[in-house]
Amino acid sequence: MASISIDQVDKVYPNGFQAIHGLSLEVSDGEFVVLVGPSGCGKSTALRMVAGLEQITDGELRIGERIVNDVEPKNRDIAMVFQNYALYPHMTVAENIGFALKLAKVPKAEVTARVNEAAQMLELTDQLDRKPSQLSGGQRQRVAMGRAIVREPAAFLMDEPLSNLDAKLRVQMRADISRLQRQLGITTIYVTHDQVEAMTMGDRVAVLKDGYLQQVDTPQHLYDRPDNVFVAAFIGSPSMNLFEATFEGSGLHLGSHRLALPDATLERRPALATYGGRKIAVGIRPEDLEDASLATDAAEGAVISSTVELTESLGSEIVVHFALDAARVDAGNPDAADDLSAADAVARFDPRSRCRAGEVVDIAVTVENLHFFDLESHAAIWT
């Protein structure tokens, strides 16, 4: 096992396109770090550079104590799991799992023992003589994992290994991979575009956009204290509601609504005082909006009225879409099919709420949890 250190790494392709801009990331020994971001953000490129499948244009990459910028992939002591599993179709499961060991000239008996051990761990013992075409998607994914495990590498690199699975299997495999990684304690870098995967699996999550690292933190901290509008909108489902608002003294003008801000909020964000009379971006998590008739602790001046456009009952909650007469803020996520002209906000109401589409409802806002961002730089406003 080893740590991975990415220091000011750039990737420029021969056509001049720069995929990665000065990426710096430290992955400690045994840590599970998830690289997440929308399509084309450079997360797979970053992982492939760690694997040695892409040349590093500038910067330094260390695995353990070794600088590996110019080291061949096979000599980096890493194992990689690919999106489409990359299993050899003409080999059996056992041959696939043991292929790297065979290449490393490991004695036959040891290869068999290690393959059997990995198969047992992944519940593949009965499938060892089968070809990949005879396996289900989940089993193929486990074979790909087995191929990585059996080598006992210094680090696992996983490039969207669950994206070819159906939703239910993905949830199960997510837990399996996390459990396995903790059990083996092998340093892991995991790439995904799915923020739920990132939040549930990673010890830390690194959010990328357009080749720039936006923020790297623990999942909860990333959720609670996003550094900018992009991270705020990208992490969390449904996404954070982001609207333009005018900050005035102790309150906010959000469209035609006025929200009073408690002193504690202003004290926690002293920099907010400098925005007096100016427009800022305000972020409201859907769970910080509740049907006012059910919110017994709703603060005074923290209720807005709006017309419900659509309700989606999920059993444990109701997702409510409602109109808000404030301009929306573009978070810059290329994957989001947002129509900015439709000023639609989303709330997660308690399932006991009786609100219906077309009705005007009072919505209580948990103002203590509001997020504030500079409208131009999109950076969070804190100190």
């Binding site: 040695g52 499948l53 992939p73 096979k74 980096r76 990689m80 179709p89 292929f99 290449l103």
Partner: protein
Amino acid sequence: MTVLNPTPDAAGASVEPPSDEPQMDRSGRTAARRRKLFSYAILLAFTALYVGPMLMLVLTAFKSLPEFFKNPTGWPESFGFGNFVEAWEKANIARYLVNSVLYTAVATAICVFTSVLVAFPIARGYLKGAKYILLLYVVALFLPPALIPQFQLILNLGLFNTRTGFILLFLVNPIGLIILVNYIKSIPRELDESAAVDGCGYYRFVFKIVMPLIRPAIATVTVLHAIGIWNELVLPTIYLTSENLYPVTRGLIVFEGLYGSNWPALAAAVLILMTPMLVLFLFLQRYIISGLTAGAVKG
């Protein structure tokens, strides 16, 4: 509605649809049957076009020469193997067969092996200007055979009338290379990368991973190339003058007379000649279709 005054027929149809429906159904079925019959007639005509000459070849092989002249297209009076025995002996097939097998096997093996080694880096773009190299092969498909320069080359190399010189003529097959390139493109690139991470070297990857995966394309190229060499008649006539180097096709000339040919014996010899390639084709047939259609649809 734009139709304000429907025609009496249309109005009738709208009033009494049940009475007309079976009639329309019947006429529709008849039209479909007619179309089907027409398709079968065309298919039958094409089948006759391909099978006819083959049938005539087989029938001729079982006729005597006078019988052939009397009734060239008819059924033979008896099915004897006299022509086959005559063809075997007169065309020296036993002796020339060894040469044909040698030329075909060696040239095909070398051609397929080297083609895979060339096709893989071209397909993957691991070579600079790979697409231009492929373009050269495509252009080569449309060029006329360079008979005179090729002859000069073989002559100057001192390989005229030698087995090596003759085999050298068949070491490149542009269409085979194009088939291989297209098939290799259908293999996910992640396999290359996974193998690189696993510690698999370039040549080991080509031989252990790529070759087993492109078996259909290899079978296709093998059959196409082997048939081409096996049936070649012009090149052995030009490049081989010693009788002990002749391939089987060269032996067939013996049946060409000054004033006429011994067609039944020639037909028997042709049937003998085509048997090995037919066996090879049948043996590799199950791979060939997928080799030829690779990349046609998303797999």
